[in-house]
């Protein structure tokens, strides 16, 4: 039995988030691993990264993270990732990690993801260079996600994202901004490779539960949405990863 704690959009600033620090320091009693679904900082500065690292350094379980759009704002991604890695955090951007927990293996494929919208109402790889670059970035990260999941030969597979692969977990946000909150290309990649669970954030006013067209559970764990420092999930050891 593997128990996951997951949260996105913790938006750590330079000042101490005492509530978050205290909750994450006590994770050991209720979870085997902590998954962070992006927007770890408010704007991705070195000072925020140091504060975040000091909080995560105290977490008593392995921590795996993807970055979000906020983490890119200050253009200091390398410093942010380096700071997190020195605190023992695994940061995924197109990569994977395999953890062994209670005799079973957990594979995690992580990408930030990106926008573009959902089938029938999405941006196309057409027109101005800016629009093509936008859509191609989503295509690139979706392909990284597909390849990452496909490479995992583990008892369980989890896709960790910041942007959403489905519209269902965005409901509550204004419909007009859905194309900036996720893309169906991410769901298509997940369904092509298979997974047990998808975790994402980004949509603070969205909904917690959804499913991909291929039947993979999707959970929006944005902290402002769930209203607590993390959400807990238990993976059934009897359930094999979808083909």
């Amino acid at each position: 039995m593997i128990r996951l704690a997951a949260v996105g959009d913790i938006h750590v600033g330079e000042e101490r988030d005492e509530a978050l620090a205290r909750d994450l320091a006590q994770l050991g009693g209720c979870a085997d691993v902590l998954l962070l679904a992006g927007d770890l900082t408010r704007c991705g500065t070195r000072a925020e990264a140091a504060e975040l690292a000091s909080i995560l350094d105290a977490a008593p379980v392995p921590v795996v993270a993807v970055l979000g759009n906020h983490d890119h704002h200050a253009d200091q991604v390398d410093e942010l990732v380096g700071c997190l890695e020195s605190a023992g955090v695994t940061v995924l951007e197109g990569g994977t990690i395999v953890l062994e927990v209670h005799g079973t293996t957990l594979g995690i494929a992580g990408v930030k993801g990106f926008g573009g919208g959902f089938a029938g109402a999405c941006a196309s790889d057409f027109g101005e260079p800016e629009m093509k670059a936008f859509v191609r970035h989503t295509k690139d990260v979706a392909e990284q996600l597909r390849a990452g999941l496909a490479s995992l030969d583990t008892d369980h597979r989890v896709a960790l994202l910041h942007y959403s692969p489905v519209a269902a977990t965005l409901h509550g946000e204004p419909l007009e901004i859905f194309p900036f909150l996720g893309s169906y290309l991410l769901a298509e990649a997940i369904d092509a490779a298979g997974a047990d669970l998808v975790l994402h954030g980004h949509a603070h006013r969205g909904s917690e539960r959804g499913v991909t067209p291929g039947g993979v559970r999707v959970r929006n764990v944005a902290r402002p949405l769930i209203g607590r420092s993390f959400q807990l999930f238990e993976l059934d050891p009897a359930a094999a990863a979808m083909p």
Binding site: R3, D17, A19, C43, H204, R228, Q231, F233, D236
Partner: protein, 93 residues
């Protein structure tokens, strides 16, 4: 920090005021939250959603006031600054 606005012309049109306040809340370093809902009702601008500290909550009022000086700001933001017990475990069968 966002550039303050006035009280006349386009700066007094509620649709633009909402857009300016929303943009400033998303980009001003004092707040930097994209998920804040901004609504203008009559001469009042209402802020709704969740932020992570009292400082951020109070800064949202300051930023909104700078962008909408002709409006009353009603700050209904909830602050997530208390430790929370773990919630129920979702069992994925």
């Amino acid at each position: 920090m966002s550039e303050p606005r006035g009280t006349e012309g386009v700066d007094a049109v509620p649709e633009y005021v909402v857009a300016h306040v929303h943009e400033a809340l998303a980009t001003d370093p004092r707040v930097m939250e994209q998920g804040i809902e901004v609504v203008a009702t009559g001469s009042t601008v209402v802020l709704m959603g969740r932020v992570f500290s009292q400082r951020q909550h109070d800064a949202a009022s300051e930023v909104a006031h700078e962008q909408a000086p002709g409006f009353t700001i009603r700050n209904d933001l909830e602050v997530l600054d208390r430790p929370s017990p773990p919630g129920p475990v979702e069992q994925l069968r």
